[in-house]
C-alpha cells in the first residue's frame, strides 16, 4: 500500500508521517494546514468543512497517484477533515516520502496546490456578524 487517503473529523500529523515512513526513503516532506484566526483582519470564530466525499476521495487519489507515477514519490498520505473546526486546529495533512528530498517537497507542494483547486471540499467561515462560503464569489 503506497497511498493513504482519508476524509474524517479528526486527523493527526503523526498518522500521515507513520504511514509514509519506510526504511528505504530518507526524506519525508509534510504540509500541515491549520485554521487561521482571521481573514483580511476580521476574526474568524470557527470553520465548517462540507465535502462531496465520494468524489473528493477520487480527486485526492488522482493527486496522490500523479506524485507516485510522475514525481518520484514512493509513499504519500493525504488527510482532510470534515465538519466544524476552531482556529489553530489541523484541517489538512499531506506527507510524501521519496529517496530525494527535493522530490518530496515538490510533490507536497503540488498536492496541496492541486487539492485547493480541484477537490470538492467547501469551507464556511463564521465571523461575529455572519458567515461566508470562502472564495464563492469573485
Amino acid at each position: 500500500m503506497d497511498v493513504l487517503i482519508d476524509i474524517k473529523e479528526e486527523i493527526t500529523v503523526q498518522e500521515a508521517v507513520d504511514f509514509v515512513t519506510t526504511p528505504d526513503c530518507g526524506g519525508i516532506a509534510v504540509f500541515v494546514g491549520t485554521v487561521r484566526n482571521a481573514t483580511k483582519g476580521k476574526p474568524v470564530q470557527r470553520l465548517f468543512f462540507e465535502c462531496y466525499t465520494p468524489m473528493a476521495l477520487l480527486e485526492l487519489e488522482k493527486i496522490a497517484r500523479h506524485t507516485l507515477t510522475e514525481m518520484g514519490i514512493r509513499k504519500i498520505a493525504i488527510l482532510h477533515v470534515s465538519g466544524d473546526k476552531l482556529p489553530g486546529e489541523t484541517v489538512v495533512v499531506i506527507a510524501a516520502a521519496s529517496p530525494h528530498r527535493a522530490a518530496a517537497f515538490a510533490a507536497c507542494q503540488y498536492a496541496i496546490d492541486t487539492l485547493k483547486e480541484t477537490v470538492p471540499i467547501w469551507k464556511k467561515e463564521y465571523f461575529e456578524d455572519g458567515e461566508v462560503w470562502v472564495a464563492a464569489h469573485p
Partner: protein, 77 residues
C-alpha cells in the same frame, strides 16, 4: 434526474438535492436549466458540473441514471 448541491449552491437552492423532471441531453442544457431555476448560481466565481463524480464539460452527454453534482468554487485545505 437527481442533482446534488454543495456549499453555497446548496444554500442557494435551499436543499442538498433537487430532482429534475427529465434528464437533459447535455451538460450545457442542464446548466441552463439550473441557472434559470436559481439565477444566483450565475453570480458565483465558477460553477462546475460533475457527472458520476468526475468533472464534466458542457458538451458531455447525460444518461438518466447519472449522479449529477453542482460544484461551486472549492475551498478545501
Amino acid at each position: 434526474m437527481k442533482v446534488l448541491l454543495f456549499g453555497i449552491a446548496k444554500d442557494i437552492a435551499g436543499a442538498p438535492s433537487i430532482t429534475l423532471d427529465a434528464a437533459p441531453e447535455k451538460v450545457a442544457v442542464l446548466r441552463e436549466q439550473l441557472y434559470q431555476r436559481y439565477p444566483r448560481l450565475r453570480e458565483l466565481r465558477s460553477c462546475m458540473i460533475a457527472v458520476n463524480k468526475v468533472y464534466a464539460a458542457d458538451g458531455d452527454t447525460l444518461q438518466p441514471g447519472d449522479e449529477i453534482a453542482v460544484i461551486p468554487p472549492v475551498s478545501g485545505g
